[in-house]
Protein backbone atom coordinates (compact mmCIF):
# COMPACT_ATOMS: atom_id res chain seq x y z
CA UNK A 1 0.00 0.00 0.00
CA UNK A 2 2.83 2.32 0.87
CA UNK A 3 4.34 1.59 -2.50
CA UNK A 4 1.14 2.63 -4.29
CA UNK A 5 0.85 5.99 -2.57
CA UNK A 6 4.52 6.59 -3.23
CA UNK A 7 3.98 5.88 -6.89
CA UNK A 8 0.98 8.19 -7.00
CA UNK A 9 2.92 10.98 -5.33
CA UNK A 10 5.76 10.44 -7.78
CA UNK A 11 3.41 10.79 -10.72
CA UNK A 12 1.90 13.87 -9.16
CA UNK A 13 5.15 15.66 -10.00
CA UNK A 14 4.49 15.10 -13.71
CA UNK A 15 2.14 18.05 -13.66
CA UNK A 16 4.78 20.40 -12.31
CA UNK A 17 6.30 21.48 -15.62
CA UNK A 18 2.85 22.51 -16.82
CA UNK A 19 2.05 24.26 -13.53
CA UNK A 20 5.28 26.22 -13.85
CA UNK A 21 4.41 26.99 -17.46
CA UNK A 22 0.91 28.18 -16.46
CA UNK A 23 2.27 30.45 -13.74
CA UNK A 24 4.86 31.97 -16.04
CA UNK A 25 2.76 32.34 -19.21
CA UNK A 26 -0.82 32.67 -17.95
CA UNK A 27 -0.88 34.04 -14.40
CA UNK A 28 2.07 36.41 -14.63
CA UNK A 29 0.89 37.97 -17.94
CA UNK A 30 -2.58 38.59 -16.47
CA UNK A 31 -1.01 40.23 -13.40
CA UNK A 32 1.01 42.39 -15.78
CA UNK A 33 -2.24 43.69 -17.31
CA UNK A 34 -3.18 44.88 -13.80
CA UNK A 35 0.30 46.31 -13.26
CA UNK A 36 0.38 48.29 -16.51
CA UNK A 37 -3.24 49.42 -16.10
CA UNK A 38 -2.48 51.06 -12.76
CA UNK A 39 0.88 52.62 -13.59
CA UNK A 40 2.28 55.47 -15.65
CA UNK A 41 4.83 54.75 -18.40
CA UNK A 42 7.44 55.65 -15.74
CA UNK A 43 6.12 52.93 -13.43
CA UNK A 44 4.38 55.09 -10.80
CA UNK A 45 0.98 54.12 -9.43
CA UNK A 46 -1.97 55.94 -11.02
CA UNK A 47 -5.66 55.58 -11.81
CA UNK A 48 -5.32 58.13 -14.59
CA UNK A 49 -5.76 55.46 -17.31
CA UNK A 50 -9.26 54.67 -16.09
CA UNK A 51 -10.14 58.32 -15.52
CA UNK A 52 -9.06 58.99 -19.09
CA UNK A 53 -11.28 56.18 -20.38
CA UNK A 54 -14.39 57.34 -18.53
CA UNK A 55 -13.80 60.94 -19.62
CA UNK A 56 -13.41 60.03 -23.28
CA UNK A 57 -17.03 59.73 -24.36
CA UNK A 58 -15.93 58.23 -27.67
CA UNK A 59 -14.24 55.33 -25.88
CA UNK A 60 -17.17 54.71 -23.52
CA UNK A 61 -19.58 54.83 -26.45
CA UNK A 62 -17.45 52.31 -28.33
CA UNK A 63 -17.61 49.93 -25.37
CA UNK A 64 -21.39 50.26 -25.09
CA UNK A 65 -21.77 49.89 -28.86
CA UNK A 66 -19.56 46.77 -28.94
CA UNK A 67 -21.55 45.16 -26.17
CA UNK A 68 -24.79 45.97 -27.98
CA UNK A 69 -23.46 44.45 -31.23
CA UNK A 70 -22.27 41.35 -29.38
CA UNK A 71 -25.65 41.07 -27.65
CA UNK A 72 -27.63 41.39 -30.89
CA UNK A 73 -25.32 38.89 -32.62
CA UNK A 74 -25.84 36.44 -29.76
CA UNK A 75 -29.64 36.80 -29.93
CA UNK A 76 -29.72 36.34 -33.71
CA UNK A 77 -27.43 33.29 -33.45
CA UNK A 78 -29.68 31.82 -30.77
CA UNK A 79 -32.85 32.41 -32.82
CA UNK A 80 -31.28 30.91 -35.96
CA UNK A 81 -29.23 28.23 -34.24
CA UNK A 82 -31.71 26.71 -31.82
CA UNK A 83 -34.16 25.51 -34.49
CA UNK A 84 -31.25 24.14 -36.53
CA UNK A 85 -29.84 22.24 -33.54
CA UNK A 86 -33.32 21.03 -32.65
CA UNK A 87 -34.10 19.77 -36.15
CA UNK A 88 -30.74 18.02 -36.37
CA UNK A 89 -31.06 16.38 -32.97
CA UNK A 90 -34.67 15.26 -33.41
CA UNK A 91 -34.78 14.24 -37.06
CA UNK A 92 -33.81 10.71 -37.81
CA UNK A 93 -31.19 11.26 -40.45
CA UNK A 94 -29.29 8.29 -41.74
CA UNK A 95 -26.15 10.15 -40.79
CA UNK A 96 -26.78 12.84 -38.18
CA UNK A 97 -23.05 13.37 -37.59
CA UNK A 98 -22.59 14.34 -41.24
CA UNK A 99 -25.10 17.18 -40.85
CA UNK A 100 -23.34 18.40 -37.70
CA UNK A 101 -19.97 18.18 -39.46
CA UNK A 102 -21.28 20.24 -42.36
CA UNK A 103 -21.94 23.08 -39.94
CA UNK A 104 -18.43 22.94 -38.50
CA UNK A 105 -16.58 22.45 -41.76
CA UNK A 106 -16.52 26.16 -42.79
CA UNK A 107 -14.46 26.86 -39.68
CA UNK A 108 -11.56 25.13 -41.38
CA UNK A 109 -11.19 28.00 -43.81
CA UNK A 110 -9.26 30.88 -42.29
CA UNK A 111 -11.89 33.16 -40.77
CA UNK A 112 -10.26 36.32 -42.14
CA UNK A 113 -10.45 34.96 -45.66
CA UNK A 114 -14.09 33.95 -45.13
CA UNK A 115 -14.79 37.44 -43.85
CA UNK A 116 -13.19 38.97 -46.93
CA UNK A 117 -15.31 36.66 -49.08
CA UNK A 118 -18.39 37.86 -47.22
CA UNK A 119 -17.43 41.43 -48.05
CA UNK A 120 -17.16 40.34 -51.69
CA UNK A 121 -20.60 38.76 -51.47
CA UNK A 122 -22.04 42.06 -50.21
CA UNK A 123 -20.28 43.93 -53.02
CA UNK A 124 -21.68 41.56 -55.63
CA UNK A 125 -25.23 42.11 -54.46
CA UNK A 126 -24.62 45.84 -54.21
CA UNK A 127 -25.27 45.91 -50.48
CA UNK A 128 -23.65 48.64 -48.38
CA UNK A 129 -20.89 47.74 -45.91
CA UNK A 130 -22.10 49.03 -42.59
CA UNK A 131 -23.85 47.79 -39.51
CA UNK A 132 -25.83 45.23 -41.50
CA UNK A 133 -22.70 43.72 -42.97
CA UNK A 134 -21.08 43.71 -39.54
CA UNK A 135 -23.98 41.80 -37.95
CA UNK A 136 -24.22 39.40 -40.88
CA UNK A 137 -20.50 38.69 -40.79
CA UNK A 138 -20.45 38.18 -37.03
CA UNK A 139 -23.44 35.82 -37.11
CA UNK A 140 -21.90 34.02 -40.06
CA UNK A 141 -18.63 33.50 -38.20
CA UNK A 142 -20.07 32.42 -34.86
CA UNK A 143 -23.32 30.58 -35.69
CA UNK A 144 -21.60 27.15 -35.49
CA UNK A 145 -20.52 27.97 -31.92
CA UNK A 146 -24.19 28.35 -31.00
CA UNK A 147 -25.49 25.31 -32.87
CA UNK A 148 -22.94 22.81 -31.65
CA UNK A 149 -23.40 22.97 -27.84
CA UNK A 150 -27.20 23.07 -28.15
CA UNK A 151 -27.13 20.13 -30.56
CA UNK A 152 -24.92 18.22 -28.11
CA UNK A 153 -27.22 18.68 -25.12
CA UNK A 154 -30.33 17.89 -27.16
CA UNK A 155 -28.74 14.74 -28.51
CA UNK A 156 -27.68 13.50 -25.09
CA UNK A 157 -31.16 14.16 -23.72
CA UNK A 158 -33.09 11.13 -22.49
CA UNK A 159 -35.78 10.61 -25.16
CA UNK A 160 -38.00 8.61 -22.86
CA UNK A 161 -38.72 11.84 -20.97
CA UNK A 162 -40.50 13.17 -24.06
CA UNK A 163 -42.54 9.99 -24.34
CA UNK A 164 -43.35 10.10 -20.64
CA UNK A 165 -44.62 13.66 -20.98
CA UNK A 166 -46.73 12.65 -23.99
CA UNK A 167 -48.15 9.66 -22.13
CA UNK A 168 -49.05 11.90 -19.24
CA UNK A 169 -51.13 14.03 -21.60
CA UNK A 170 -48.85 16.93 -22.50
CA UNK A 171 -49.49 18.40 -25.92
CA UNK A 172 -46.66 19.27 -28.33
CA UNK A 173 -46.23 22.84 -27.09
CA UNK A 174 -46.12 21.66 -23.51
CA UNK A 175 -43.58 18.94 -24.26
CA UNK A 176 -41.33 21.58 -25.76
CA UNK A 177 -41.68 24.33 -23.15
CA UNK A 178 -41.78 22.07 -20.10
CA UNK A 179 -39.39 19.27 -21.05
CA UNK A 180 -37.14 19.90 -24.04
CA UNK A 181 -36.40 23.60 -23.52
CA UNK A 182 -35.49 23.36 -19.80
CA UNK A 183 -33.27 20.36 -20.50
CA UNK A 184 -31.41 22.22 -23.24
CA UNK A 185 -30.68 25.25 -21.05
CA UNK A 186 -27.05 24.22 -20.31
CA UNK A 187 -26.38 24.03 -24.05
CA UNK A 188 -28.03 27.41 -24.58
CA UNK A 189 -25.85 28.99 -21.91
CA UNK A 190 -22.70 27.49 -23.37
CA UNK A 191 -23.72 28.71 -26.81
CA UNK A 192 -24.44 32.22 -25.56
CA UNK A 193 -21.05 32.45 -23.86
CA UNK A 194 -19.24 30.95 -26.83
CA UNK A 195 -20.77 33.53 -29.18
CA UNK A 196 -20.78 36.56 -26.88
CA UNK A 197 -17.16 36.33 -25.71
CA UNK A 198 -15.45 36.34 -29.10
CA UNK A 199 -17.86 38.88 -30.61
CA UNK A 200 -17.42 41.39 -27.79
CA UNK A 201 -13.62 41.14 -28.07
CA UNK A 202 -13.10 40.82 -31.83
CA UNK A 203 -10.91 43.36 -33.55
CA UNK A 204 -10.15 42.32 -37.10
CA UNK A 205 -13.58 41.30 -38.39
CA UNK A 206 -15.17 44.71 -37.86
CA UNK A 207 -12.39 46.53 -39.71
CA UNK A 208 -12.67 44.24 -42.71
CA UNK A 209 -16.47 44.11 -42.82
CA UNK A 210 -17.02 47.85 -42.63
CA UNK A 211 -13.81 49.10 -44.26
CA UNK A 212 -12.86 50.79 -40.95
CA UNK A 213 -16.15 52.69 -40.79
CA UNK A 214 -17.11 51.13 -37.48
CA UNK A 215 -14.70 50.81 -34.55
CA UNK A 216 -15.33 48.17 -31.91
CA UNK A 217 -13.82 48.03 -28.44
CA UNK A 218 -11.36 45.32 -29.52
CA UNK A 219 -10.00 47.57 -32.26
CA UNK A 220 -9.65 50.38 -29.73
CA UNK A 221 -7.46 48.14 -27.56
CA UNK A 222 -5.46 46.94 -30.55
CA UNK A 223 -4.79 50.51 -31.69
CA UNK A 224 -3.44 51.57 -28.32
CA UNK A 225 -0.83 48.83 -28.61
CA UNK A 226 -0.12 49.24 -32.28
CA UNK A 227 -0.16 52.80 -33.53
CA UNK A 228 0.00 54.52 -30.13
CA UNK A 229 3.52 53.48 -29.23
CA UNK A 230 4.85 52.90 -25.73
CA UNK A 231 3.03 55.93 -24.31
CA UNK A 232 -0.33 54.28 -25.00
CA UNK A 233 0.42 50.84 -23.54
CA UNK A 234 -0.75 51.66 -20.03
CA UNK A 235 -4.03 53.04 -21.37
CA UNK A 236 -4.37 49.92 -23.53
CA UNK A 237 -3.78 47.75 -20.47
CA UNK A 238 -6.56 49.61 -18.64
CA UNK A 239 -8.93 48.94 -21.57
CA UNK A 240 -7.83 45.28 -21.54
CA UNK A 241 -8.62 45.10 -17.84
CA UNK A 242 -12.14 46.38 -18.51
CA UNK A 243 -12.50 43.69 -21.17
CA UNK A 244 -11.17 41.11 -18.71
CA UNK A 245 -13.86 42.08 -16.20
CA UNK A 246 -16.58 41.66 -18.85
CA UNK A 247 -15.20 38.25 -19.85
CA UNK A 248 -14.88 37.10 -16.23
CA UNK A 249 -18.47 38.16 -15.53
CA UNK A 250 -19.72 36.31 -18.63
CA UNK A 251 -17.86 33.11 -17.82
CA UNK A 252 -19.05 33.27 -14.21
CA UNK A 253 -22.59 33.43 -15.55
CA UNK A 254 -21.92 30.24 -17.50
CA UNK A 255 -20.30 28.36 -14.63
CA UNK A 256 -23.10 29.24 -12.21
CA UNK A 257 -25.63 27.66 -14.55
CA UNK A 258 -23.50 24.71 -15.51
CA UNK A 259 -22.65 23.82 -11.97
CA UNK A 260 -24.10 20.35 -11.78
CA UNK A 261 -25.50 19.75 -15.22
CA UNK A 262 -23.51 18.15 -17.97
CA UNK A 263 -21.56 20.69 -19.90
CA UNK A 264 -22.58 20.84 -23.51
CA UNK A 265 -19.50 22.59 -24.80
CA UNK A 266 -17.48 21.82 -27.85
CA UNK A 267 -15.61 19.07 -26.02
Amino acid sequence: MKKLTELASARRTWAWPYVLFLVLFVVLPLLLIFYYAFTTPQGDFTIYNFVKFFHTSEAVNTLVYSMAIAFITTVICLLLGYPAAYIMAMAEFKTPQVMALLFILPMWINFLLRTIATVELFNMFGLPLGEGALLFGMCYDYLPFMIYPIYNTLQKMDRSLIEAAQDLGANKANVFTKVILPLSVPGIYSGIVMVFMPTVSTFAIAELLTHNKITLFGSLIQRSFGEGGIAMWNYGAALSLIMLVIIAATSFFDQERDHDTQKGGLL
Binding site: W14, V19, P29, F103, P106, N110, M197, S201, I221, F225
Partner: protein
Amino acid sequence: MSLLETMQNAKCKMQVESAAQQEARRRSRELAAKRVAGQAYLWLLLVVLYAPILLIFIFSFTQSKVFGNWTGFTFHLYENLFTGYDSTAQVRVDPNLYRAIFYTVLIAIGAACIATLLGTLAAIGLYNMRSRARKGITFLNSIPMINPDILTGISLFLLFVFLGISRGFVTVLIAHVVFCTPYVVLSVMPRLTQMNPNLYEAALDLGATPAQALRKVMLPELRPGMISGFILALTLSIDDFGVTFFTKGSNGLETLSTFIYADARKGGLTPELRPLFSLIFLTILVLLIIMNIRTNKQQKKLQK
Protein backbone atom coordinates in the same frame (compact mmCIF):
# COMPACT_ATOMS: atom_id res chain seq x y z
CA MET B 1 -75.61 -13.58 -32.63
CA SER B 2 -77.44 -13.35 -35.94
CA LEU B 3 -75.62 -13.22 -39.20
CA LEU B 4 -76.91 -9.71 -39.80
CA GLU B 5 -75.50 -8.47 -36.55
CA THR B 6 -72.08 -9.93 -37.24
CA MET B 7 -72.05 -8.34 -40.65
CA GLN B 8 -73.00 -4.99 -39.20
CA ASN B 9 -70.33 -5.36 -36.57
CA ALA B 10 -67.75 -6.12 -39.18
CA LYS B 11 -68.84 -3.14 -41.23
CA CYS B 12 -68.54 -0.90 -38.19
CA LYS B 13 -65.07 -2.20 -37.50
CA MET B 14 -64.05 -1.57 -41.06
CA GLN B 15 -65.33 1.97 -40.85
CA VAL B 16 -63.45 2.52 -37.60
CA GLU B 17 -60.35 1.03 -39.13
CA SER B 18 -60.50 3.16 -42.18
CA ALA B 19 -61.01 6.27 -40.01
CA ALA B 20 -57.96 5.28 -37.99
CA GLN B 21 -56.07 4.63 -41.20
CA GLN B 22 -57.04 8.01 -42.53
CA GLU B 23 -55.89 9.62 -39.30
CA ALA B 24 -52.58 7.75 -39.49
CA ARG B 25 -52.11 8.73 -43.13
CA ARG B 26 -52.89 12.37 -42.34
CA ARG B 27 -50.39 12.24 -39.48
CA SER B 28 -47.62 10.69 -41.52
CA ARG B 29 -48.23 13.27 -44.25
CA GLU B 30 -47.99 16.02 -41.63
CA LEU B 31 -44.78 14.53 -40.28
CA ALA B 32 -43.32 14.26 -43.76
CA ALA B 33 -44.20 17.89 -44.47
CA LYS B 34 -42.58 18.90 -41.20
CA ARG B 35 -39.47 16.94 -41.98
CA VAL B 36 -39.20 18.52 -45.40
CA ALA B 37 -39.61 21.99 -43.87
CA GLY B 38 -36.95 21.20 -41.27
CA GLN B 39 -34.56 19.87 -43.87
CA ALA B 40 -35.18 22.90 -46.07
CA TYR B 41 -34.30 25.20 -43.18
CA LEU B 42 -31.05 23.38 -42.50
CA TRP B 43 -30.06 23.43 -46.16
CA LEU B 44 -30.88 27.12 -46.40
CA LEU B 45 -28.58 27.87 -43.48
CA LEU B 46 -25.88 25.72 -45.04
CA VAL B 47 -26.20 27.51 -48.37
CA VAL B 48 -25.66 30.87 -46.65
CA LEU B 49 -22.82 29.43 -44.58
CA TYR B 50 -21.09 28.02 -47.64
CA ALA B 51 -21.76 30.91 -50.03
CA PRO B 52 -18.53 32.80 -49.23
CA ILE B 53 -16.48 29.60 -49.44
CA LEU B 54 -18.09 28.75 -52.76
CA LEU B 55 -17.18 32.25 -53.92
CA ILE B 56 -13.51 31.66 -53.02
CA PHE B 57 -13.65 28.33 -54.86
CA ILE B 58 -15.28 29.75 -58.00
CA PHE B 59 -12.90 32.69 -58.21
CA SER B 60 -9.89 30.43 -57.82
CA PHE B 61 -10.53 29.49 -61.45
CA THR B 62 -10.12 32.94 -62.90
CA GLN B 63 -7.02 35.00 -63.23
CA SER B 64 -8.18 38.44 -62.16
CA LYS B 65 -6.15 40.08 -59.42
CA VAL B 66 -9.31 41.57 -57.96
CA PHE B 67 -11.44 39.14 -55.98
CA GLY B 68 -14.97 39.12 -57.41
CA ASN B 69 -13.98 40.01 -60.97
CA TRP B 70 -14.52 37.16 -63.45
CA THR B 71 -12.18 37.20 -66.46
CA GLY B 72 -12.77 33.75 -67.84
CA PHE B 73 -12.01 30.19 -66.74
CA THR B 74 -8.38 29.23 -66.25
CA PHE B 75 -6.10 27.16 -64.02
CA HIS B 76 -3.50 29.94 -63.99
CA LEU B 77 -3.76 30.72 -60.29
CA TYR B 78 -3.18 27.06 -59.41
CA GLU B 79 -0.17 27.04 -61.74
CA ASN B 80 1.17 30.23 -60.14
CA LEU B 81 0.68 28.82 -56.67
CA PHE B 82 2.74 25.73 -57.44
CA THR B 83 5.44 27.25 -59.61
CA GLY B 84 5.75 30.43 -57.57
CA TYR B 85 5.88 32.39 -60.84
CA ASP B 86 3.13 34.35 -62.52
CA SER B 87 3.81 33.68 -66.21
CA THR B 88 1.26 36.21 -67.50
CA ALA B 89 2.43 39.16 -65.43
CA GLN B 90 6.02 37.84 -65.57
CA VAL B 91 6.57 38.37 -61.84
CA ARG B 92 7.22 36.09 -58.93
CA VAL B 93 4.31 35.28 -56.64
CA ASP B 94 4.83 37.14 -53.35
CA PRO B 95 7.56 35.06 -51.61
CA ASN B 96 6.12 36.14 -48.25
CA LEU B 97 3.13 33.90 -49.00
CA TYR B 98 5.34 30.80 -49.04
CA ARG B 99 7.19 31.91 -45.93
CA ALA B 100 3.81 32.41 -44.23
CA ILE B 101 2.70 28.89 -45.23
CA PHE B 102 6.01 27.48 -43.98
CA TYR B 103 5.80 29.23 -40.60
CA THR B 104 2.10 28.40 -40.16
CA VAL B 105 2.86 24.68 -40.59
CA LEU B 106 6.06 24.79 -38.52
CA ILE B 107 4.45 26.64 -35.61
CA ALA B 108 1.34 24.44 -35.71
CA ILE B 109 3.31 21.18 -35.64
CA GLY B 110 5.78 22.50 -33.06
CA ALA B 111 3.08 23.89 -30.77
CA ALA B 112 0.92 20.77 -31.11
CA CYS B 113 3.86 18.46 -30.25
CA ILE B 114 4.92 20.49 -27.21
CA ALA B 115 1.30 20.90 -26.09
CA THR B 116 0.63 17.16 -26.41
CA LEU B 117 3.72 16.26 -24.35
CA LEU B 118 3.15 18.93 -21.71
CA GLY B 119 -0.62 18.35 -21.56
CA THR B 120 -0.42 14.55 -21.30
CA LEU B 121 2.13 14.71 -18.48
CA ALA B 122 -0.02 17.34 -16.77
CA ALA B 123 -3.15 15.19 -17.11
CA ILE B 124 -1.38 12.17 -15.54
CA GLY B 125 -0.06 14.37 -12.75
CA LEU B 126 -3.46 15.98 -12.16
CA TYR B 127 -5.16 12.59 -12.05
CA ASN B 128 -2.92 11.54 -9.16
CA MET B 129 -3.32 14.76 -7.22
CA ARG B 130 -5.43 15.51 -4.20
CA SER B 131 -8.71 17.10 -5.16
CA ARG B 132 -7.97 20.61 -3.88
CA ALA B 133 -4.73 20.98 -5.81
CA ARG B 134 -6.42 19.44 -8.82
CA LYS B 135 -9.26 21.95 -8.69
CA GLY B 136 -6.85 24.88 -8.50
CA ILE B 137 -4.79 23.72 -11.47
CA THR B 138 -7.91 22.84 -13.46
CA PHE B 139 -9.05 26.42 -12.94
CA LEU B 140 -5.69 27.79 -14.15
CA ASN B 141 -5.93 25.42 -17.10
CA SER B 142 -9.33 26.84 -18.06
CA ILE B 143 -8.11 30.46 -18.19
CA PRO B 144 -6.52 30.29 -21.67
CA MET B 145 -9.67 28.59 -23.00
CA ILE B 146 -11.98 31.28 -21.63
CA ASN B 147 -9.74 34.24 -22.42
CA PRO B 148 -10.41 35.72 -25.87
CA ASP B 149 -7.43 35.89 -28.27
CA ILE B 150 -6.96 39.58 -27.76
CA LEU B 151 -6.45 39.24 -23.99
CA THR B 152 -4.15 36.21 -24.30
CA GLY B 153 -2.23 38.10 -26.96
CA ILE B 154 -1.92 41.37 -25.07
CA SER B 155 -1.05 39.76 -21.74
CA LEU B 156 1.76 37.77 -23.40
CA PHE B 157 2.85 40.88 -25.32
CA LEU B 158 3.20 42.71 -21.98
CA LEU B 159 5.12 39.75 -20.51
CA PHE B 160 7.64 39.65 -23.33
CA VAL B 161 8.04 43.42 -23.21
CA PHE B 162 8.39 43.34 -19.41
CA LEU B 163 11.04 40.61 -19.51
CA GLY B 164 12.81 42.27 -22.41
CA ILE B 165 12.42 39.26 -24.73
CA SER B 166 12.39 40.29 -28.38
CA ARG B 167 9.34 38.94 -30.15
CA GLY B 168 9.59 36.47 -33.01
CA PHE B 169 9.31 32.77 -33.79
CA VAL B 170 9.93 31.54 -30.22
CA THR B 171 7.42 33.90 -28.61
CA VAL B 172 4.71 32.91 -31.12
CA LEU B 173 5.47 29.25 -30.45
CA ILE B 174 5.17 29.74 -26.67
CA ALA B 175 1.93 31.68 -27.13
CA HIS B 176 0.44 28.89 -29.24
CA VAL B 177 1.44 26.29 -26.63
CA VAL B 178 -0.38 28.45 -24.06
CA PHE B 179 -3.76 28.23 -25.78
CA CYS B 180 -3.36 24.68 -27.16
CA THR B 181 -2.29 22.74 -24.05
CA PRO B 182 -5.55 23.13 -22.06
CA TYR B 183 -7.41 21.31 -24.82
CA VAL B 184 -4.89 18.44 -24.75
CA VAL B 185 -5.32 18.13 -20.97
CA LEU B 186 -9.08 17.98 -21.45
CA SER B 187 -8.83 15.35 -24.20
CA VAL B 188 -6.47 13.08 -22.24
CA MET B 189 -8.26 13.38 -18.88
CA PRO B 190 -11.32 11.24 -19.76
CA ARG B 191 -9.06 8.42 -20.97
CA LEU B 192 -7.35 8.40 -17.57
CA THR B 193 -10.59 8.26 -15.63
CA GLN B 194 -11.82 5.41 -17.85
CA MET B 195 -8.58 3.48 -17.42
CA ASN B 196 -8.33 0.80 -14.76
CA PRO B 197 -6.03 2.43 -12.18
CA ASN B 198 -4.57 -0.93 -11.18
CA LEU B 199 -3.24 -1.73 -14.65
CA TYR B 200 -0.11 0.36 -14.21
CA GLU B 201 0.63 -1.11 -10.77
CA ALA B 202 -0.06 -4.61 -12.06
CA ALA B 203 2.55 -4.10 -14.75
CA LEU B 204 5.05 -2.98 -12.13
CA ASP B 205 4.26 -5.96 -9.91
CA LEU B 206 4.83 -8.25 -12.86
CA GLY B 207 8.32 -6.88 -13.16
CA ALA B 208 8.03 -4.05 -15.67
CA THR B 209 10.21 -1.02 -15.08
CA PRO B 210 8.25 2.25 -14.70
CA ALA B 211 9.35 3.25 -18.20
CA GLN B 212 8.11 -0.04 -19.66
CA ALA B 213 4.82 0.19 -17.76
CA LEU B 214 4.36 3.68 -19.13
CA ARG B 215 5.13 2.71 -22.70
CA LYS B 216 3.32 -0.63 -22.83
CA VAL B 217 0.35 -0.05 -20.54
CA MET B 218 -0.37 3.61 -20.01
CA LEU B 219 0.46 5.00 -23.44
CA PRO B 220 -1.78 2.70 -25.51
CA GLU B 221 -4.70 3.60 -23.23
CA LEU B 222 -4.08 7.34 -23.54
CA ARG B 223 -3.21 7.41 -27.21
CA PRO B 224 -6.71 8.20 -28.62
CA GLY B 225 -7.02 11.17 -26.26
CA MET B 226 -3.53 12.35 -27.16
CA ILE B 227 -4.26 12.09 -30.88
CA SER B 228 -7.51 14.04 -30.66
CA GLY B 229 -5.76 16.63 -28.47
CA PHE B 230 -2.93 16.89 -30.99
CA ILE B 231 -5.34 17.39 -33.91
CA LEU B 232 -7.32 19.97 -31.96
CA ALA B 233 -4.09 21.81 -31.10
CA LEU B 234 -3.05 21.73 -34.74
CA THR B 235 -6.31 23.26 -35.95
CA LEU B 236 -6.40 25.89 -33.21
CA SER B 237 -2.85 26.93 -34.04
CA ILE B 238 -3.44 27.12 -37.78
CA ASP B 239 -6.62 29.16 -37.32
CA ASP B 240 -5.19 31.60 -34.80
CA PHE B 241 -4.91 35.26 -35.65
CA GLY B 242 -5.33 37.33 -32.48
CA VAL B 243 -2.60 35.79 -30.35
CA THR B 244 -0.10 35.61 -33.21
CA PHE B 245 -0.77 39.23 -34.09
CA PHE B 246 0.42 40.48 -30.68
CA THR B 247 3.33 38.08 -30.19
CA LYS B 248 4.95 38.01 -33.63
CA GLY B 249 6.83 41.29 -33.32
CA SER B 250 7.89 43.33 -36.31
CA ASN B 251 10.78 41.27 -37.68
CA GLY B 252 8.72 40.15 -40.65
CA LEU B 253 7.49 36.87 -39.19
CA GLU B 254 4.03 36.15 -40.60
CA THR B 255 1.63 33.24 -40.44
CA LEU B 256 -1.12 32.83 -43.03
CA SER B 257 -3.62 34.63 -40.78
CA THR B 258 -1.47 37.71 -40.22
CA PHE B 259 -0.39 37.63 -43.87
CA ILE B 260 -4.03 37.76 -45.01
CA TYR B 261 -4.76 40.55 -42.53
CA ALA B 262 -1.82 42.64 -43.70
CA ASP B 263 -2.84 41.95 -47.30
CA ALA B 264 -6.43 43.01 -46.72
CA ARG B 265 -5.34 46.21 -44.96
CA LYS B 266 -3.23 47.08 -47.97
CA GLY B 267 -6.42 46.79 -49.99
CA GLY B 268 -5.63 43.85 -52.24
CA LEU B 269 -5.65 40.16 -51.62
CA THR B 270 -2.87 38.00 -53.08
CA PRO B 271 -4.90 36.10 -55.72
CA GLU B 272 -3.03 32.83 -55.09
CA LEU B 273 -4.72 32.62 -51.68
CA ARG B 274 -7.91 31.61 -53.51
CA PRO B 275 -6.57 28.33 -54.97
CA LEU B 276 -4.61 27.69 -51.76
CA PHE B 277 -7.69 27.71 -49.54
CA SER B 278 -9.82 25.91 -52.13
CA LEU B 279 -7.30 23.07 -52.00
CA ILE B 280 -7.16 23.09 -48.19
CA PHE B 281 -10.94 22.93 -48.03
CA LEU B 282 -11.19 20.10 -50.57
CA THR B 283 -8.49 18.12 -48.74
CA ILE B 284 -10.35 18.38 -45.44
CA LEU B 285 -13.65 17.54 -47.10
CA VAL B 286 -12.15 14.38 -48.64
CA LEU B 287 -10.49 13.41 -45.33
CA LEU B 288 -13.78 13.79 -43.46
CA ILE B 289 -15.66 11.74 -46.06
CA ILE B 290 -13.07 8.96 -45.83
CA MET B 291 -13.18 9.03 -42.03
CA ASN B 292 -16.95 8.89 -42.12
CA ILE B 293 -17.05 5.94 -44.50
CA ARG B 294 -14.55 4.10 -42.32
CA THR B 295 -16.49 4.64 -39.10
CA ASN B 296 -19.70 3.58 -40.86
CA LYS B 297 -18.02 0.37 -42.01
CA GLN B 298 -16.75 -0.29 -38.51
CA GLN B 299 -20.21 0.24 -37.10
CA LYS B 300 -21.68 -2.18 -39.61
CA LYS B 301 -19.05 -4.75 -38.68
CA LEU B 302 -19.90 -4.31 -35.02
CA GLN B 303 -23.58 -4.79 -35.76
CA LYS B 304 -22.85 -8.08 -37.50
